[in-house]
């Protein structure tokens, strides 16, 4: 078990180091295969750990310690890995989906000049995420947390000649840093009270803290989770993060990193359960985000941004589930979401790749005629996203919505949000589908596919960094195979659990994250909720069909609302006014009032002083013999006097 955990953790790190050390000595493609192999090895390790955990009775998991890393006073933290049901689940998801996405990247990033750097970063990211989920104490979790933020920054800004990409990377990093800070503060409080960051001790201590303290700790952890998972109000970085290459969006901003917040809540649920108010705030945040993101997704014109807001919305569902106490449901949705969201991103990436970088869906009609495989896979993912049975989303999403019913009056509000979210999901997803895939190919599409006849082959030479990739037809097998595998998973993965009838998933997670009793719905509630959400989803599909199918692009009324949604509800403008402008003004003021006159002037002033002193001394050098002799004589006289006095 622990062998599997170590293999899973270290294989991607070995891949990164191998690529870094090999440098330009290996061909660019080789870097991709090294990275893919390392992540597949990690998946192997995860499978091994999973099966050995299954073989263990009680499934309690095991902590393995490599060495004591940090010791300070009574506080010590070791390099510990934890293999328990929750972490082994995450290991499988991260390494499995990650391996498929890295394989896809080989085809997508083919020809880019800096491919090696890309794959080194990808392996680094997988390592960081695995460290996060395998960490046996909160300190390692925080380390992994920071490293995934770093990898995300590096990969969003991968095409660093684009100023928008760099700004997006900075934005993501800064907002995540805010979350990191709140998390660190929470951990400091825990250390102060319990002297340890191991899970067992921290959770035990949480029970003895005052309500305010444990509320603060939970709030700090929630801040970190919300920043990492792009929940309101720390969500503005996620749409901009789409500046990175599409596989990056698939892996980091859909399947794994953004779900780290949910994992955190599930992992530290004993602390959250002590601070029930904060946990419900988490649920409320999730509910709010899922509705708002769904609304904003309705007016987006960039294919990747639609999917990004969809991610935000679905993570809202997961927060909702974890917040009300249905951890297993939240984690189940995390798993199915990883599959179908990665699928959607990769299929969108295939389309973007084929159209040589075009991302505006208003130009993209009729792609399905020329890319049938992609079309059907995308459809599978879309149906899973909306939650249509028998696709996987149905099984996971509805159980979350049903779990809210036990909570009293705000439970009803959450339930309503969940249903509204399902409706909105239907609308925006199938708006995307109808605008892009069916129908006659548009001008752009025909041009993109038509120009690939006469010798316009896939580049063997470096394409140049920062220019969009493109290929002929549907794409190489390295891109199509992962899409296909994920399409299958998106279809069938849901059959793992249907809450009323069979729930091996929940049972599996019980030792690590037992669902709260209040969050377990009755069968009736389940059935009713499922019916309502499926109906809402289908209604959404119908609305989308009415508005966008068959070549129509209907523009709904309410221009003020539309404008607000197009500006993403003015969050960016608000943050700019509240945070950025005062900070910039303060920095400028400090610069003009303090730094320039005092600090920067110090250097020239010192220099000038030295020069002036030198000038004064220079006047002694008159060039006249008599002056020198005079000084000689005076000096001798003075020395003689001193000599006398001393004796």
């Amino acid at each position: 078990m622990t062998g599997g955990a170590w293999l899973c953790l270290l294989a991607p790190l070995a891949g990164t180091i191998a690529i870094l050390l090999a440098g330009t000595r290996i061909p660019r493609q080789a870097a991709g295969w090294i990275s893919t192999a390392s992540v597949f090895a990690a998946f192997g390790g995860a499978v091994w750990a999973f099966f050995s955990l299954r073989a263990q009775s009680g499934h309690d998991g095991e902590i393995t310690t490599a060495w004591t890393w940090l010791e300070s006073g009574s506080f010590s933290a070791g390099l510990q890995l934890l293999v328990d049901p929750l972490s082994s689940l995450m290991m499988l998801i991260v390494s499995g989906v990650g391996a498929l996405i890295v394989l896809y990247s080989i085809g997508y990033m083919h020809g880019d000049e800096e491919e090696r750097r890309y794959f080194a970063y990808m392996s680094l990211f997988v390592f960081s995420m695995l460290l996060l989920v395998e960490g046996g104490n909160l300190l390692l979790l925080l380390v992994g947390w920071g490293l995934v933020g770093l990898s995300s920054y590096l990969l969003i800004g991968f095409w660093h000649e684009r100023p928008t990409a760099i700004q997006a990377a900075k934005k993501a990093f800064v907002m995540n840093a805010f979350g990191d800070a709140t998390m660190a503060l929470a951990l400091f409080v825990l250390i102060a009270h319990s002297g340890s960051l191991s899970f067992a001790t921290s959770f035990a201590t949480a029970g003895h803290l005052s309500q305010t303290t444990v509320d603060l700790v939970a709030l700090g952890l929630l801040g970190g989770a919300a920043a990492k998972s792009a929940q309101i109000p720390l969500h503005t970085w996620l749409p901009d993060a789409m500046e990175g290459p599409t596989p990056v969006s698939a892996l980091i901003h859909a399947a794994t990193m953004v779900t780290a917040g949910v994992y955190l809540i599930a992992r530290t649920h004993p602390i959250f359960e002590q601070a029930r108010t904060i946990e419900l705030i988490a649920a409320g945040t999730g509910a709010l985000t899922l509705v708002v993101a769904g609304l904003v997704a309705l007016v987006q014109t960039d294919i990747k941004r639609v999917i990004a807001y969809s991610t935000m919305s679905q993570i809202g569902y997961m927060f909702l589930g974890a917040g009300v106490g249905a951890y297993a449901n939240g984690m189940f949705h995390l798993m199915t979401h990883a599959f179908f969201k990665a699928l959607l991103f990769m299929a969108a990436g295939a389309v973007i790749h084929a159209l040589a970088g075009e991302q505006d869906i208003r130009q993209m009609r009729g792609v399905g005629a020329l890319m049938p495989f992609t079309k059907w896979c995308f459809l599978a993912g879309a149906l899973a996203l909306v939650g249509v049975p028998p696709f996987s989303g149905f099984f996971s999403k509805d159980s979350i919505v049903a779990a809210t019913l036990g909570l009293g009056w705000y439970g009803w509000i959450f339930w309503a949000c969940g249903v509204a979210g399902a409706f909105l999901t239907g609308v925006y997803t199938f708006r995307l589908w109808f605008l892009v895939f069916p129908g006659e190919p548009s001008e752009l599409v025909r041009r993109a596919f038509g120009s690939h006849e006469a010798g316009d082959e896939q580049d063997a030479e470096p394409r140049g960094h920062g220019s969009e990739p493109h290929h002929d037809g549907e794409g190489p097998w390295t891109m199509l195979l992962p899409i296909g595998i994920l399409a299958v998973l998106a279809t069938v993965a849901g059959w793992l659990q249907w809450s009323p009838k069979w729930h091996p998933f929940t049972t599996w997670l019980e030792p690590a994250a037992r669902t709260l009793a209040i969050a377990e719905p009755t069968s009736t509630q389940e059935y009713v909720t499922s019916a309502v959400t499926v109906a809402a989803g289908l209604a959404g599909i119908a609305v989308a069909w009415a508005m966008y199918a068959g070549g129509r692009i209907a523009v709904p009324g309410a221009p003020a609302v539309r404008r607000a949604l197009e500006h993403k509800l003015y969050f960016d403008e608000l943050y700019d006014a509240v945070f950025f402008r005062p900070a910039a003004a303060l920095a400028n003021w400090t610069r003009t009032e303090f730094e320039e006159p005092a600090v920067l002037q110090t250097g020239p002033d010192l220099g000038q002083t030295a020069l002036d002193a030198g000038g004064l001394v220079r006047r002694l050098q008159t060039g006249l013999l008599r002056t020198y002799v005079f000084f000689l004589a005076s000096g001798a006289a003075v020395i003689a006097v001193v000599f006398l006095l001393v004796r």
Partner: protein
Amino acid sequence: MIAAYSAGAALVWVVWVAAGFACLASGVAVVSFSNPFYSALALIGNLGSLAVLYLLVSAEFVAAAQVLVYAGAVMVMFLFVIAYVGPRMEAPWAGGPSWQTFAAVLAAGSLLTEIVVVIALEAGGSLGQDGSVGRDFGSPGWIGRIFLTDHLLAFEITSIVLLVAAVGGVILGSHTRRQVPEAAIPDDEREVAQVS
């Protein structure tokens, strides 16, 4: 050697006063004349009176060397150069006493005072004329013996210094060996070429 001291004490004093006075007067004269030729001649007088003073303290060899070397060779060299350079009359006190004059007088005066004070303090009264010295004190043989035994190093080094000075003097005074056309030398090199 002046060995008959009994009634000669007065004689000694008279000689001493005369020689001392001559010494001081000629010293002032050296510093004061405006014509360097006269200054050189005054210096010769100074050297001579100093030789007399040396004799009074039984330093015969040194007195002889003073007259022979200093007055005889060094001063002659001085006179040659003064004659070569030509008459240059400089008004020594032209322009009135400047701050430099005051400062110089002050410095010299303070040196003087200090020396006297040091001697007085250190000696504390023990600077009387004491005892008699041996017959060969100050004789050439005696000097020679010391030079070649106790102070051999000083002897050798002094000779090296003299050698170096001789070479330097020759180099400084020699004519330019090549006459390079003036126009061909750039300005900053011209002086270098001239000096060598």
